[in-house]
């Protein structure tokens, strides 16, 4: 048996199409163009690549993109003043501060300065609490992407045993909340879990988000289970070459699983697509157009 491959790249393209259609609809019917502001401090090469990619895709779906770039030694006051002005700007519906920030800046303080309704990363403490109590919130992009792929593959997730490996604020915790909201029985496993293989073997759905290359082998996977691999790890192979691998050992897991996301080409492409979708959602809510908010389903 070999698993069905969940093609994140293709699925992300359909999400972007839906976003583009909704953007066009918002322009025609309401004269509103969703706008995403991305804030980058410093010159971290990976962050620059992300920001460029986000800006490009934002424009491609017909939205306005606003980029704000600052030197690495920018003061907290300057950054907070910018966020205040973006909060007040009616053309901006989503605000994303690219992380990590330079060490002299307090990430928590900066993120919590963003108006919760414009917090398209879903990291504002109020959004975290709203999601954690099953209320309407902005949802972090990577776990949202995982959820959309799971819903697309399974239809209803109700009653399934889901195991989330990793309890990070960015992926593991919000993923667990989303699966609970979709009526899964959820176990959150992590570095302190006593018998991880045993815990993972119970799962109909496994979401691996630990950042350790190929740590989940195929013999931990229940036959037929769905495996979502959030990890992106660069490892050395022979001849000074490197390659990207996930947190699961793809070949052995694919031999057992019912469905699996590859790395690259699985969860990764979904993240920016969900960022665009969140910006549209924020735009709808800010303009009280909440009836059209579930444009993804």
């Amino acid at each position: 048996m070999s698993a069905q491959i969940i093609d994140g790249k293709a699925f992300a393209a359909t999400v972007r199409q839906k976003v583009a259609a909704k953007v066009s609809d918002l322009k025609d019917a309401h004269g509103v163009t969703p706008g995403l502001a991305v804030v980058l401090v410093g010159t971290d090469p990976a962050s620059q690549v992300y920001v460029r990619s986000k800006g490009k895709q934002t424009v491609e779906v017909g939205m306005n993109s606003f980029e704000h770039k600052f030197d690495a030694d920018t003061s907290e006051d300057v950054l907070l003043a910018l966020i205040d002005s973006l909060n007040a700007d009616p053309a901006v519906h989503g605000i994303l501060v690219q992380l990590p920030l330079p060490a002299h800046l307090d990430e928590t303080l900066v993120i919590n300065r963003i108006a919760p309704e414009k917090d398209v990363d879903g990291f504002h403490i109020a959004n975290v609490g709203l999601l954690g109590t099953g209320q309407k919130s902005m949802v972090p992009c990577t776990p949202l992407g995982c959820l959309l792929m799971l819903r697309d593959y399974h239809g209803s997730l109700s009653g399934k045993n889901a195991v989330v490996i990793g309890r990070s604020n960015i992926v593991g915790k919000p993923m667990a909340q989303l699966l609970l909201n979709d009526s899964c029985t959820v176990t959150i496993a992590h570095s302190r879990t006593a018998d991880l293989p045993d815990v993972v073997r119970r799962a109909d759905i496994v979401v691996a988000a630990v950042g350790r290359p190929e740590m989940v082998p195929g013999d931990w996977i229940k036959p037929g289970a769905t495996v979502i691999d959030v990890g992106i790890n660069r490892i050395d192979i022979e001849d000074d070459k490197t390659k990207l691998v996930g947190d699961v050992d793809y070949d052995s897991c694919a031999a057992v699983a019912g469905a699996i996301t590859p790395v690259p080409g699985g969860v990764g492409p979904m993240t920016i697509a969900c960022l665009l979708a969140n910006t549209v959602t924020a735009c709808c809510r800010i303009n009280n157009l909440t009836d059209g908010e579930d444009f993804l389903s």
Binding site: G129, T133, T185, T187, V199
Partner: protein, 294 residues
């Protein structure tokens, strides 16, 4: 009175409560004037009055001023909100409690969001919940935190423990799961859509139940030696027409199997109000830290 036999498996709330109350009392004695706790009820029932009386008694024990407010049934949502906002700005108010249930025309979530996070003694503001999820344990939902205190009272180390939380309410189940995860436990959250609760609960070192269903958990669902924390409070009427308070666990049967079990009443309940008082202490510390108080 007949002499009671001591049941070593019973995990009683009173000693845990008293320990927390002593700790808060010591803090209040040293801090001096801390401001008052305001407890708000709208058109309260007799049951709500019992809760409030209990809060007032615990506040007196730790030495905090307690202001009990009963608002009339016809108060509007906006009026509630604006009164709460005034309390947020009032330095003589240390913290705020909103009694449930409220009349149907009042939106409880909106009021909980209106309470400033640093005055949110019940830990129900979304920002308070968010902080718990991010493992910044400050103002915690009282029943959830009380349940964790009961587990700690067994002396077991939480890291690596297999914990099954049955019930995923926003007030108890979900925050308790997050608190236990932050302590290093491996937590599984079950609920009414879970296919086989027993399959999960039988494996667990600790089972917590908060669903509001009398005798839901029987002995066959518990691993021998496990800790059972019963958070349910149900009023049942027996054949002889007397009414009793029971939990979600078939206590007599489960006590034969479990290593520890909390009784109802007398288990988690008494600790809940003590945690409310500890939240008052935490609120004072945080308010002082950010310069609201000298």
């Amino acid at each position: 009175m007949t002499k009671k036999t001591v049941n070593h498996r019973q995990l009683l709330g009173a000693p845990v409560r008293d320990h927390i109350i002593d700790e808060v009392r010591t803090y209040v004695d040293a801090a001096g004037k801390m401001g008052k706790i305001v407890s708000i009820a709208v058109d309260g029932t007799a049951e709500v009055e019992v809760y409030i009386r209990n809060q007032a008694r615990m506040a007196a024990r730790v030495g905090l001023d307690f202001d009990q407010q009963m608002w009339s049934r016809d108060i509007t949502q906006d009026a509630c909100k604006s009164r709460i906002q005034d309390m947020n700005d009032d330095p003589s108010v240390l913290g705020i409690i909103i009694q449930r249930p409220l009349p149907p025309h009042i939106n409880i979530r909106s009021l909980q969001s209106a309470v400033h996070p640093l005055k949110d003694l019940e830990g129900m503001n979304p920002a308070s919940i968010g902080n718990i999820i991010y493992s910044d344990i400050a103002l915690v939902p009282c029943t959830a935190a009380a349940s964790v205190e009961m587990i700690k009272a067994t002396g077991l180390a939480l890291p690596g423990l297999e914990v099954v939380m049955i019930g995923h309410s926003e007030i108890v189940g979900r925050p308790a799961a997050m608190l236990l995860m932050a302590e290093g436990a491996t937590v599984t959250i079950c609920h009414h859509m879970t296919r086989s609760v027993a399959m999960h609960s039988r494996r667990a070192d600790v089972v917590l139940v908060a669903v509001g269903s009398p005798h839901l958990i029987g002995a066959d669902m518990i691993k021998p030696g496990a800790v059972v924390i019963d958070i349910g409070i149900n009023r049942i009427v027996t054949d002889d027409d007397t009414s009793h308070i029971v939990g979600d666990v078939d206590t007599a049967a489960v006590a034969e199997v479990a290593g520890w079990i909390t009784p109802v009443p007398g288990g988690v309940g008494p600790v809940t109000v003590a945690v409310l008082m500890r939240n008052a202490k935490t609120a004072h510390m945080r308010q002082t830290q950010i310069g609201w108080r000298a």
